[in-house]
């Protein structure tokens, strides 16, 4: 048994939506390479995705949508493609789209299965995390919702209660809506406010409905939120929500686009804060559900400098190790020629070279008020349910 498994398949890097598309799968190769060069990832930890019965896709996606994805993947035209979000600027149609998207689902389901079955304590699939995919629509670079399929697998096959935690800069809308009325899943999303950023949802008042009421937790953040404020609201919201729900398994979507360098979003976190949040999630999993934790990738559009380092920290946390401060020269040498910008030499950011964000206190105070109001609403709902 491997305590921590890394789901790997070279095909997973084929999720290249278009040339010069901001979603760059090369970040997966950079991450894996960095982990191997630092010795944090060993051969025996790498696990291939299990065979996946693609009929399972239709547990969450509409069959007509799946048919449209399949047809367009083979280069056939489909009259409703655009209505399904396919062939748009965000989600261009590319050859093999169905197969590779299904493979990503297989990988996340495998990661969940490894942990849920007890074969591993923690598992990572950095190719996964396509949280915007909706039941009948491709959205925000996501075709099939691997996360939701993984969560569904844990519920159906193992009867687990799953907490889904999403720290991508964008709201985890697809996963939230797929489980909005489920009593078995709590979704928690911390994201840049929908007022400023896609997809536009993730308001505090989206709290779930029916049996899922009180189990959708949304913490919208102000643009330019920095480390201290992020850590403060994380502590105000996440531990209390998880403790109220008492999950059997935590699934973390660890999009790396809340970093200051990300070109698509406007949050201003450093790798230091991201690393701290990963550590905190590991602690919470240890404390609440015997360490059972599955992590995926997600967004992250600064693919050379930021994403590999962020996910290396996450992987190191899963293994109770740390990424060395100085990154191996061998890693930079291997990749530098193919990369349009200089690869970093340190595993963390040089915070002294960063200027403070103007309005820092105002932003922090706004986030704090939102978090406090959110929690007072939720605590009330949780108490109603208990009485």
């Amino acid at each position: 048994m491997n305590d921590v498994v890394f789901i790997f398949d070279p095909e997973l890097s084929a999720y290249q939506l278009a040339d010069s598309h901001p979603f760059k799968p090369i970040r997966l190769d950079l991450t894996r390479s960095l982990l191997r060069e630092t010795g944090l990832l060993t051969d025996d930890q790498e696990t291939r995705p299990d065979p996946f019965d693609e009929r399972k896709l239709s547990r969450l996606h509409h069959k007509a949508y799946i048919r449209a994805v399949k047809a367009t993947s083979k280069g056939k035209s489909h009259p409703d493609a655009f209505g399904y979000g396919l062939g748009t600027g965000d989600n261009p149609i590319f050859p093999g789209m169905h197969d590779i998207s299904t493979k990503i689902c297989a990988a996340t389901v495998t990661a969940v299965d490894q942990v849920a079955s007890g074969k591993a304590r923690r598992a990572a699939n950095f190719a996964g995390g396509l949280h915007h995919a909706l039941s009948n629509r491709a959205s925000g670079f996501c075709i099939y919702n691997d996360l939701a399929l993984g969560i569904d697998h844990a519920i159906q096959e193992y009867g687990l209660r799953v907490a889904y935690l999403d720290i991508d800069a964008h709201h985890g809308d697809g996963v939230q809506w797929l489980f909005y009325d489920s009593a078995f899943v709590m979704t928690i999303s911390l994201h840049e406010s929908g007022r400023y950023l896609f997809p536009g949802t993730g308001h505090t008042y989206e709290v779930g409905k029916g049996p899922g009421r009180g189990l959708s937790v949304n913490m919208p953040l102000e643009p330019f939120t920095e480390d201290d404020s992020f850590e403060e609201v994380f502590e105000l919201v996440v531990p209390k929500a998880l403790e109220a729900f008492r999950p059997d398994l935590i699934v973390l979507q660890a999009g790396a686009d809340m970093h200051r360098y990300d070109p698509l979003a406007d949050l201003a976190l450093s790798l230091q804060a991201m690393k701290a949040s990963y550590q905190r999630v590991c602690e919470l999993a240890d404390h609440l559900c015997e360490g059972k934790l599955v992590v995926t990738g997600g967004g992250g559009y600064d693919p050379y400098r930021t994403v590999p380092r962020a996910w290396a920290h996450l992987w190191a946390c899963l293994n109770d190790h740390a990424v060395p401060e100085a990154l191996p020269e061998s890693w930079r040498q291997e990749w530098q020629e193919r990369i349009p910008e200089a690869l970093p030499s340190n595993s963390l950011d040089d915070l002294n070279s960063w200027q403070a964000v103007p309005r820092r206190d105002e932003i922090a105070s706004h986030n704090r008020v939102v978090a406090e109001r959110l929690m007072s609403t939720l605590v009330q709902i949780w108490q109603e349910d208990r009485s």
Partner: protein, 229 residues
């Protein structure tokens, strides 16, 4: 968008002889703030509906009553603290000269009437039959729908010169990136400019805004993405 597209068709109307107390209770039970009041047109039509509720067929609209009218009455107390006039029929307090809308009125026209007369709702009549009611909340819902805020996407605000083809040019540029737009709303900012709020179906709002700025458009939202030092 016409009044028929946003109105409530399942209207609860009441008989003018219903007591004020019963109307008040109905408002609370059903969470309704406005009742059209219908009178039977022929003597034969029975009024034996429970608590004075009435069906619109064969009836004539004679008034409307709002929660505000009712509250004015039910809050009146006698010296022992008992509410007065609860047993009086509602026709004693109803508004008789009712402003009504037609199902094919454009919503902006109906909304303007609501604002001008400072009222909260209008019964919708076709010929003289009550077919619906439209309230301020329906207009608010329509506005929310028109903004496209329910659609996945990114909000964009652009200031255009007030001249023919400016909006078409903007939309053509967005289309050239193979992006669709789920909503556009335009308002005249001043005599020279029109401001457009639209919802584009893209995750990369900054990317789109940058392209538009390079094309010479004045993009007010999202704000320019400053690379933090």
């Amino acid at each position: 968008m016409l009044v028929k597209d946003i109105m409530t068709t399942n209207v609860l109307a009441i008989d003018p002889h219903t007591s004020i107390g019963d109307v008040s209770a109905l408002m609370e039970q059903r969470n309704i703030r406005h009742f059209p009041i219908l009178e039977a047109q022929t003597a034969k039509t029975s009024t034996n509906h429970s608590r004075g509720q009435r069906s619109p067929a064969d009836s004539r609209l004679v008034g409307i009553v709002s929660d505000r009218d009712i509250r004015g009455i039910t809050s009146r107390r006698d010296e022992t603290g008992k509410a007065v006039a609860l047993d009086d029929p509602v026709h004693t307090i109803m508004i008789r000269d009712v402003l009504t809308a037609h199902p094919k009125d454009p919503i902006e026209e109906a909304a303007k009437v609501l604002r001008e007369y400072k009222i909260g709702a209008m019964p919708v009549l076709e010929e003289s039959t009550l077919v619906g009611i439209v309230t301020a909340i329906d207009f608010l819902d329509a506005l929310v729908r028109m903004t496209g805020v329910h659609e996945v996407g990114t909000r964009l605000e652009v200031e255009l010169p007030n001249r023919p083809g400016a909006l078409a040019g903007l939309l053509a540029r967005i289309a050239s990136h193979n992006l669709s737009v789920s909503s556009t709303m335009t308002t005249r900012a001043d005599t020279e400019h029109v401001s457009v709020v639209l919802r584009a179906n893209t995750i990369d709002g900054h990317g789109l805004a940058t392209h538009l700025r390079q094309d010479g458009f004045t993009v007010l939202w999202p704000l320019e993405k400053h690379t933090l030092p």
